[in-house]
């Protein structure tokens, strides 16, 4: 104890217990003292909601190569991904999946006992251009099994966890990261964790949009914390909308549903994707499909003229289109699927649709709309997870980021399905390993005096404000609506400008938000208020970066600038928070052997 703060000292402190955090913890804790801090209990993290599979070119069903995975990922990224990082991703994916299997992950199996794989959007046989089976799956709960398996290994390895600790600040001393300030949620006690290395693995911020697949707790804490400490955020204008969220709720329906043969149908009963992506059709990449859905709706071809379309996974529909497309199984026979096979391969989404819509997706099509899903951008890092503090790619010593909060960048302007799980694990592992290397060469940096003071002031200010007319929920709902209307799938300058003005007003109103709960114990009123502050900042950064990028690339579609503009915009944005507001700088994309080409699916 020092004053009224509890002090801890670990070599590496990891924030977040999802896939990236746990992977970093497993690797780092083999060599040095590690603590994992999470604002939730273990296995509650958002990794657990990933459904369809993890991509790796194992070739268990048909010919496949990591190099094909590399090309697909780069093409999927609309050429904004850094090609050195993509190589690491796709080549390490293969041994990573075997490692998960060795840890006990219960993958589904092929008849010969190997890991089963299914087709997924944008993953192709580079020669035939047809979908390839690359997504390794455990039913439609692959993320759940990954999260469970990694946590199991952490128990086996006796990793130290601080559960329900909300990290509120990173401590820097003379430009070196040396610790964290965290709130113990159950008691309200503040803690300082001194560390040689800090790894942020706090996930994304889909909660800035109204319709999202993201968890309530996905509030971008880590990204906002480092932004406030002068570290930039990269490519924030790129946020993926997954094409198939349950209508109005946003709950994810895996792309695996289309991997198993499901098709999107508009209000006229047409399979519209063949008009937008003649080869890949319903397995084109997500940005292409989300745009197509919006265009169908705009043309009045939504179901009943409304703002949704159908995802049809009824066996008779799937088999009809298998036949029309001449789809073959790996053994050369015509591809067919039965109702039982759909139930076995997609049990969770079948359950979601039954629970929330009261319909059986084997008998009725599922109403879907695009749903805010995944941050391609985030804290810029190098290939070893080291956070980069400027456009010259200089690392900030002691600071690491991995998983969705990080931007390596392997996803560029649009992430391929299954690559998030690969990303969080490959770069979680590399961060853990490099943090150990760093610890071996570096001593603890002295903590500055009263390092918890800024956090204390923030919390005090939130706690002491009177409960006026400004509510957390109102401001949050307004932000989510504004982002959905103006900074969603389709964007144009006047709309984004409107959004920026609205967000700045909301930030002013936020300064007057009061909370009702004044207690120390489990004060989620206080935490929701703090989290809203993070969301508002990230929303503004997203909008500002989106306004500046006057081209359309991947998921960032500017109606006033419909073409990709490689001459001016083949570059990553870096958003800095300065006293004058958000400042954008840019850095080049790493291109190796795949120069940008036109992108057709």
């Amino acid at each position: 104890m020092e004053g009224d703060v509890v002090l801890h000292k670990y070599d590496v402190v990891i924030v977040g217990a999802g896939g990236a955090g746990l992977m970093a913890a497993l690797y780092a804790s083999r060599s040095v003292r590690v603590a994992v801090l999470s604002k939730m209990w273990p296995v509650r993290s958002h990794t657990g909601t990933a459904q369809g599979g993890i991509g790796a070119a194992l070739g268990n069903h048909e010919e496949d190569h990591p190099e094909w995975h590399v090309f697909d990922t780069i093409k999927g990224s609309d050429y904004l991904a850094d090609q050195d990082a993509v190589r690491v991703l796709c080549y390490e994916a293969v041994e990573l999946v075997y490692e998960l299997e060795h840890m006990g992950l219960p993958f589904d199996r092929t008849p010969s006992g190997r890991i089963a794989q299914r087709p997924f959007g944008g993953h192709t046989n580079n020669v035939t251009k047809q979908p390839v089976r690359r997504a390794c799956h455990a039913a439609d709960r692959t993320g759940h099994m990954i999260l469970q398996t990694l946590y199991q290994q952490c128990i086996k390895q006796r990793v130290t966890f601080f559960d329900e600790f909300q990290v509120l600040d990173v401590i820097l001393n003379e430009g070196i990261a040396c610790g964290l300030v965290a709130l113990e949620i159950t008691t309200g006690q503040l803690h300082i964790f001194q560390a040689r290395a800090v790894v942020f693995a706090t996930g994304g911020w889909g909660k800035i949009w109204q319709i999202t697949s993201n968890a309530h707790s996905f509030t971008g804490d880590g990204a906002a914390i480092v932004l406030r400490r002068g570290i930039p955020l990269e490519d924030m204008e790129f946020f993926q909308f997954h094409p198939t969220g349950i209508y109005k709720m946003g709950i994810l329906i895996t792309e695996g549903a289309r991997g198993e043969g499901g098709v999107l149908i508009n209000g006229r009963g047409d399979r519209f994707m063949e008009r937008y992506a003649p080869t890949m059709k319903d397995l084109a990449s997500r940005d292409v499909i989300s745009r197509a859905i919006y265009l169908e709706i705009r043309e009045g071809r939504g179901v009943e003229g409304k703002d949704y379309v159908y995802l049809d996974i009824r066996p008779e529909t799937i088999n009809r289109y298998f036949e029309l497309d001449g789809k073959k199984s790996p053994d050369g026979t015509p591809r067919r699927i039965t109702a039982d096979e759909i139930k076995t391969r997609l049990p969770d989404i079948t359950d979601f649709v039954r629970t929330y819509l009261g319909i059986d997706p084997l008998n009725q099509p599922i109403p879907v709309q695009p749903t805010a899903h995944y941050a391609m951008g985030g804290i810029p890092t190098d290939l070893d997870g080291r956070a980069l503090k400027n456009e010259n790619n200089e690392a900030l010593p002691g600071l690491y980021a991995a998983g969705e909060v990080a931007c390596v960048s392997v996803h560029g302007a649009n992430r391929l399905g299954t690559n998030s799980l690969v990303d969080i694990l490959v770069f979680g592992r590399r961060s853990g390993l490099d943090a150990v290397r760093y610890c071996r060469q570096t001593d603890f940096t002295k903590l500055p005096a009263r390092a918890d003071e800024p956090v204390r002031e923030t919390l005090e200010s939130l706690r002491s404000r009177p409960l006026g007319d400004e509510r957390i929920a109102d401001i949050r709902a307004e932000m989510q609506r504004v982002m959905m209307d103006y900074v969603g799938v389709f964007r144009e300058a006047t709309g984004i400008e409107k959004a920026i003005r609205a967000l700045r007003e909301l930030q002013e109103r936020y300064q007057r938000v009061g909370i009702q709960d004044k207690s120390m114990c489990y004060n989620t009123d206080l935490l929701e208020a703090w989290e809203l502050g993070c969301l508002l900042e990230l929303a503004e950064v997203t909008a500002v970066a989106a306004l500046a990028r006057t081209e359309s690339r991947g998921c960032h579609t500017r109606e006033d600038h419909p073409q990709r503009d490689d001459k001016n915009w083949l570059k990553h944005s870096l958003a800095f928070r300065t006293e004058q507001g958000i400042e954008l700088r840019y850095k080049p994309v790493t291109i190796l052997n795949y120069p940008p080409q036109e992108r057709v699916y």
């Binding site: 209990w41 509650r44 006990g104 006992g113 290994q153 309530h216 009261g358």
Partner: protein
Amino acid sequence: MKVILKIRRFNPERDRAPWWGYYQVECEPTDRVLDALNWVKWYQDGSLAYRRSCAHGICGSDAMRINGRNRLACKTLIKELGNRITIEPLLGLPVIKDLVVDLEPFMKHYRSIMPYLVNDDPPPATERLQSIAQRERFDDTTKCILCAACTTSCPAFWARPDYIGPAAIVQAHRFIFDSRDHGAEERLRILDAPSGVWRCRDIYNCTEACPREIQVTQAIAEVKREILRRRG
């Protein structure tokens, strides 16, 4: 529709004993109980404490006792319950505040059954092989999200908190029947102890409580049978 939520409240800093809070909320029949709780928290009483995250039945945060039955608030629709809904924290675990209970006793039981693959053979260069049937053998118990709904619905657990409880047995089952695992013997020894599987009296509350529809009682019975089979 108008719904009256009757919520068990307790703030250790303020209350000497738990009390009932009554809240009127306007809901759609298809809303989740979690939506109603959020409405109360966001617009009526910000001090209400409960856990929630994914809001679609996967993260396991919001298990609670709803109209006398353990369920996930995000997987229970208002229309299943009618317009009077009673919400209490899970039984058998210490209450921290309102609907938030201390999960540590539950997680301790979970950790005690060696919930990880035990196999010290050097792994092959690629995957270990497993047939579709071998994989199917333990599929049901891989669905567990550790929400604690089963264990805290079990009268045997309420009576004796040292009982390892259904969730830990489900998690053990997931490994005992995994063809790749070599730890069954030690795990079964733990489960054969006085605080282990024999405390189960086949009451089936756990099976009814499971939001993942795992056949919990059956899994426990299979573990019991396996212990007996190995005893010869």
